[in-house]
Subunit: 219 residues, 2 copies
């Protein structure tokens, strides 16, 4: 595999979005002690076209040998490396409300290489209180905190109205990535990556499918 | 617009996935009191290709007039209708843990046409306790409850190991849609729609982008 990812700029968004799906699938295969996997089995299990799977993986150099399939552990390792989750990330959470709280307690999240370094809020009633094992700190101290701690990612769990300002604050504090749960797309300067999570989107897609079902002619 | 969506079976997954994005964008335009919108402005604001926007909307019959753009309110109404969120849904939450709790308190969620009817858990310590305004009920009572209440959607907030069993239980109880937050894909019989939410996927994509940035040559 080429460590310099020479084709990076050509990798389509859809392929990137499928990578976590490969990662999850390979984790599951690894849990089941599968050592090798063919693209045709992956295709059946994941509901993706086998040639698409080969094309996707070829974007990153290709890891299979014709007729031998892929080594699960090697492919899992490579996909982790491609995703950049073969390292640990320092994380701060801004907004000690319900979503922030759920994320802190979402154990899976912490297990997988993401270390929560601090939790921040603007509400004086929350500042100083304990949220799990974290003392909630005032956002005004975020900048100082982030500059003396290793913080890579800021998670935004504040209301819509405060979301962009929080993003700006996180960027000033030096984070390289923003994971935003406020129901509005936030922006950051070039060089800082942003993922806006819209929980409701998948609920709407669910409603679409339910409605679509109703629209089909009866059997 | 054709009320029977004759092209439904041909609508690509990617278009369906973009619909909630259109919906959110149009809501925002509506909040800003914009009455008309051109596909070129939508294109700039949403970061999508203008011809793609026209193609997407044409899948559902097309709502614009060449040179006049789209009526924001009409398009918003149509997109709601297409998504099937122009009605109310009865919802039960199974799993009164952190994610379940966060969802209950996620006010936006309730505002937008989804009525939480009941919260269920298997843990006797939780059963009978109050979670917000809901008394947590035992899952064993779910079937009876769902058959005398109008429940359309079941939300799974239980651990991975119990997820498929919970999905089966919800299907037996007559739900038409399953919104699953357990970190494993659950399945349901034909006729029941499922959306598996993988919160970490977008975190991984964020890590990918952050790593991709590191891989670019320095300026």
């Amino acid at each position: 595999m080429n460590p310099e990812f020479p084709h990076d700029d050509k990798i389509p968004e859809a392929v990137i979005r499928r990578l976590p799906k490969y990662y999850r699938y390979l984790q599951e295969m690894s849990r089941r002690n599968e050592s090798r996997i063919s693209s045709s089995k992956m295709s059946r299990d994941m509901g993706l076209n086998a040639s698409q799977i080969r094309r996707d993986l070829n974007c990153f150099g290709g890891f299979g040998q014709q007729g031998y399939g892929y080594s699960v552990s090697k492919l899992l390792e490579e996909v982790s490396k491609i995703l950049g989750i073969d390292r640990r990330y320092g994380v701060v959470i801004v907004g000690a409300g319900n979503i922030g709280q759920a994320l802190i307690r979402y154990s899976k999240f912490i297990e997988q290489g993401f270390d929560i370094k601090g939790v921040f809020d603007i509400d004086q009633k929350k500042v100083g209180s304990l949220m799990d094992s974290f003392v909630v700190q005032h956002v005004d101290t975020l900048d100082t905190f982030a500059h003396k701690t290793n913080v890579d990612i800021g998670i935004i769990c504040v209301p819509r109205i405060a979301a962009q300002q929080t993003a700006d604050m996180l960027v000033m504090a030096g984070v390289e990535g923003v994971w935003n749960f406020a129901p509005i797309d936030v922006q950051a300067r070039k060089g800082v990556s942003v993922e806006n999570v819209h929980l409701n989107d998948s609920l709407y897609v669910l409603c679409y499918r339910m409605t679509e079902g109703d629209r089909l002619p009866p059997l």
